[in-house]
């Protein structure tokens, strides 16, 4: 557990950014779940809870999700459930428990770019951008490649672009981190395949569908080609060989569920 000298509910993002950049021990407070496990001596905790960023805004083109929304807000959003065919819920439902997901925020889950993140794996398969206070709008792809700095994640924007998306994960127990996470979406006949927890940060590749999914040889060759584009690693949850083999299984399940 950390210690923290001051707590400030800021009145503007400008105030938050000024505080954040003034001292490396001033931190943005999300749901505090990850932060709590650090043993730092923090100076000021910057709370964005008064800035109306705990809302999911929606229009015909898409969603703008405030960084202070909880993971549970995403999971229970009826419109997103319909738009993305249950994939949002599938990605979030294994993250510890309901009371945990009521506490965890979107900002705290996305900004640190955790390698194990279910949230990032899902977002990378969607037409998604993040709005950062300093850098402005950045595509999710570039955002993932970049490392966390002193910026503030303000919103996550997801377009409604009629893509179909499904989420698959392999876990040793129901609520543990994923051994491997997988999101696959399809739009205009092209697949976006994302693997997370490999155990690196989520990586997406765009590929054409298999020439003949019903033909075992064609299917195996296609899967081999797809997984060759990822680097797998070993940690306490699984070896790189295991992850590589399981990647083919999860991608197959996802493609079967997409049914295209």
């Amino acid at each position: 557990m950390y210690t923290m000298k001051n707590y400030v509910q800021v009145q503007s993002l400008e105030e938050a950014y000024e505080l954040r950049t003034k001292n490396k021990n001033n931190v943005i407070l999300g749901g505090n779940l990850w932060l709590k496990m650090t043993t730092r001596d923090l100076s000021t905790g910057i709370d964005l809870c008064n800035l109306g960023l705990d809302r999911i805004e929606e229009d015909e083109s898409g969603y703008a999700i405030g960084c202070m929304c909880s993971l549970r807000d995403l999971e229970t959003n009826v419109s997103m459930e319909t738009e993305f065919g249950g994939a949002v819920k599938d990605a979030l439902r294994h993250i510890v428990g309901v009371q945990f997901r009521n506490t965890a925020t979107v900002g705290g889950s996305v900004f640190p770019r955790f390698g194990f993140s279910d949230v990032l794996t899902l977002l990378a398969a969607l037409d998604c951008e993040v709005e950062l206070f300093n850098k402005g709008r950045v595509s999710i792809k570039d955002f993932i490649l970049d490392s966390p700095d002193h910026d503030i994640l303000v919103k996550v924007m997801i377009k409604k672009d009629k893509r179909k998306v499904v989420y698959e994960t392999l876990r040793m127990t129901e609520t543990d981190f994923g051994v491997l996470n997988c999101a696959v979406s399809v739009k205009d006949g092209k697949y976006t395949i994302v693997l997370g927890a490999a155990p690196r940060k989520a990586k997406m590749v765009e590929v054409d569908p298999c020439s003949n999914w019903e033909d075992k040889e064609a299917k195996d060759a296609w899967l081999e080609e797809v997984v060759n584009q990822y680097i797998f690693g070993t940690n306490m949850r699984g070896s790189k060989e295991y992850r590589r083999a399981m990647a083919k299984v999860l991608i197959t399940r996802a493609v079967d569920r997409l049914g295209v």
Binding site: M1, T3, M4, L33, G45, G97, V98, F100
Partner: protein, 151 residues
């Protein structure tokens, strides 16, 4: 710093430190049902309701509860007793250490979804760990409680 919280229906004003967790705050106010069972946010024992939503009080800053309603097991005594008598009658619990967080989660589920399916029930309660039962006795009792056909 000072916060004002409606704790189990009573408005209180109290002095806290900026890094005080809601768990330690409610315990300092006598709500000793709320306990810390882990260091990682995994066990659910510290579950209470913040503005009626179940959250982990071990990880929520007390400062964030300012102006809000906080409900612990002590604030829902009647429903809690009814449910824990039911659990005991079914022989569902053992040492009872996990019960305070578990009961707050079950009652939250009942409010949010009074007729859950077995899957919905399991998913809702997955964040409450129990070191004794292996979950089968709780599962059987809860199926009965919610009128679910056991699968």
């Amino acid at each position: 710093m000072k916060i004002t919280v409606t704790l189990n229906g009573k408005r209180i004003e109290a002095e806290i430190t900026p890094d005080m967790m809601l768990l330690d705050f409610v315990r300092s106010q006598g709500m000793k049902s709320v306990k810390r069972g882990c260091d990682t946010g995994n066990c659910g024992l510290c579950t209470l309701w913040l503005d009626d939503k179940p959250v982990l009080s071990c990880s929520t800053l007390a400062a964030r509860a300012n102006g809000k309603k906080v409900t612990t097991l002590e604030g829902v005594q009647e429903e809690a007793k009814e449910f824990s008598d039911f659990l005991a009658g079914e022989g569902a619990d053992q040492c009872g250490f996990c019960s305070p967080g578990f009961i707050m989660a079950v009652l939250a589920l009942k409010k949010e979804n009074p007729n859950p399916t077995a899957e919905e029930m399991k998913e809702y309660l997955a964040g409450n760990l129990c070191r004794c039962t292996g979950y089968q006795s709780q599962y059987r009792a809860l199926c009965k409680y919610f009128g679910i056909q056991e699968v």
